[in-house]
Amino acid sequence: MSLLAEFCTRYTPHIYFDSHSPSDTLFLDLTHVPHLINDEKSFVIHLIAECYRQGFHPVVIAITETASAGWAFTHFTSLPANHRISQGRIVPPGKMRDWLRSLPVEAIRGKEEWHATCHELGCHTIGDVLRLPLSEWEERFGKDFGLRIQQLLGEREEILPPYRPLPKFEYSVCLEYPTTSADIIDEHISALLHILRNDLLKKGQGALELVITFFCDDAKPLSTTITLIHPTVNAEKLYGLFQLHKEQLRLPGPVTQISVAVTCTASLEWGQSTLFHRPAASSSREWAELLERLAARLGKERVSEAILEPDHAPEYVTRWKSCFDRRRKQKSTFLSFAILPGARPWRLLNKPVPIEVVMGIPSGHPYRFFYRGAYKEIVRFWGPERIETGWWRGDTILRDYYRVETVTGEHYWIYRCLYTGQWYLHGIF
């Protein structure tokens, strides 16, 4: 759906997702748009053809006065999906209420129990529902039902989650001929960034997040996001970060249009210049620039901080948070050391390695284990530390952990799964 939404941004910036799940619907605000391609009928034909070219097939399109009615017509007046035919439907102005009357009650977006009760009461279509006063329905189902009906008929406003926030600054250029030339693309991006810089400066704003989109011929659009720590209007810096991004991009086809959109801005930080060099300020700026460069090349999710979660299962203790996540930072972890139940290894294997362990009888403690082609004699061990948790996740953990020291002085973290009796190597000290 995100790819389809990205593709539709060429027609309108106002794109919304369906707030219900599972979502299979996009809502496009087409006010003043269809006339650009003659009329609504031509627009629907054009849109179906373009979707087919981009690989989105089949699609069902309905142009109506309200979003809820659009959802109803796309879901209840079209052929079943297994017919594999794209379809379009245009509801003429003023005819929407009449056309809706024939649709089943399931066309009212809401709870399934509403539909079941309507059928029990002998109301099988929206027309049957509209015959009764709305207040009576609200007494039975609550205010939500009335709201849904009013939204369906266009009497109340409907708020939908946007695909992405409207860009505060957006510039695009349509190329005369599709191209794959890196030089031409660089030239256009540089020009767009300089235009962007001028407009940002006029508003006293700096870019914090920049989305560069390439619309390709016969292929899905390709987007890349540049995230910054401090707001900037420096076109050269943005261009340099784009160059780092570019190394990771693979254009799916010749580019027909390039778009640069600023999705997040902040007021520029103006500071009075000082007579003497302030090392702390320059160090902070240099550090921020380093993180921006690293995120541009590696991806911002790969430049992260570790957050400790209060969970006993070793696999779930750590949560990675991008350094560009602007939510509240965690406090010092020195105190959290005190709540750790025992020693923890510096390295935890992503997947525990099954090992053969010789145990003492009747204690059941490990005596030696076979790992990497050799037996390792255990001279000391600490444990067991029993960890039993995670039933709410569906995979209950029941393990006895041991820290073991081998005769050669190596320390490992091994455990025995008490369900299967299998031993695993999980960490290295």
Binding site: R297, L298, S336
Partner: protein, 285 residues
């Protein structure tokens, strides 16, 4: 002998006389006439003369002692010729196998340097197997630590160079299996440019490779003194294979304490818990 002649001629300007070779007196000695090995000298005399010249070259690149940083491990500091790690280079820890404690010592050293430089510790971890609770256990503060998870070795090398080149970096820590001479030289130049310190953990076979490191340590785990010792303290032997201005391998023993063990408050004075942060943590535990 031809190769020796070439070597001496290229090091003419840096040759220093015999006798006192301390850094403080280098400027005075640099004016004195240099002593070059002659064709008729015995082999031992030649080697000694060349050694002094190489020593002069390596010492010339060092920083004033006041810029040195403690490794955070008093025993390791004591093994180094100038008792300090200097910014503008990297340190290698060679480990024979995993789990020997060398990684813990290197992480502790990296954190100590980052704290001293008032910067962030950057950990390059392509496999995402570094376990943050284990780092907390070593006394590393996670909000002052940045983890990089590059997707390929190429990205990892690029990231290391970028981080070392940034003077705002506190310290960098990475496990590097393979490192060719050219990449190692790039790391060295990046660290010199940013005056930063990189700590690299390398597998034991790297001992045969040419090193650009300012210091190279080999870790040998020592078995427990007795099986009845229930504390989780570990003894490891640290051998300095290479350090600027040092020619003989020197070795010392380091005791890695268990900070959660109450005994470590009593016996931990010569070990990791001597560092302020870890000592504080162990008292709370």
């Amino acid at each position: 002998m031809a190769s020796i002649d070439v070597l001496t001629s290229s090091a003419d300007a840096l040759a220093i006389p015999q006798g006192n070779t301390s850094l403080g007196n280098y400027a005075e000695h640099a004016k004195a006439p240099p002593v070059f090995p002659q064709a008729g000298d015995s082999r031992s005399v030649l080697v000694a003369a060349l050694r002094r010249q190489i020593e002069a070259v390596s010492r010339r690149q060092t920083y004033p002692p006041s810029e040195g940083i403690s490794a955070g491990l008093p025993e390791v500091d004591a093994l180094l010729p100038q008792k300090r790690i200097f910014p503008g280079g990297f340190v290698e820890w060679l480990i024979p196998t995993e789990g020997t404690g060398g990684e813990c010592l290197s992480l502790r050293m990296a954190w100590s340097i980052a704290v001293h430089r008032k910067g962030y510790l950057v950990i390059v971890d392509p496999t995402q197997e570094i376990y943050p609770p284990g780092l907390v256990y070593l006394g590393i503060d996670l909000p002052r630590t940045i983890f990089l998870h590059p997707a390929s070795p190429k990205d990892a090398y690029w990231a290391i160079i970028q981080v070392l080149r940034c003077s705002a970096t506190g310290a960098l820590w990475a496990c590097i299996d393979r490192l060719d001479t050219r990449t190692a030289r790039r790391f060295q130049l990046a660290a010199e440019q940013g005056s930063t310190v990189g700590i690299f953990v390398r597998p034991f076979p790297a001992i045969n490779e040419i090193s650009w490191a300012q210091a190279r340590f080999l870790v040998q785990p020592q078995p427990a003194a007795c099986a009845q010792d229930t504390s989780q303290r570990r003894r490891v032997k640290v051998i300095v294979l290479r350090a600027r201005g040092q020619w003989e391998n020197v070795a010392g023993e380091v005791l890695i304490d268990d900070p959660a063990d109450p005994l470590s408050q009593t016996f931990g004075t010569s070990s990791l818990s001597a560092s302020p942060s870890l000592k504080a943590a162990s008292l709370r535990a």
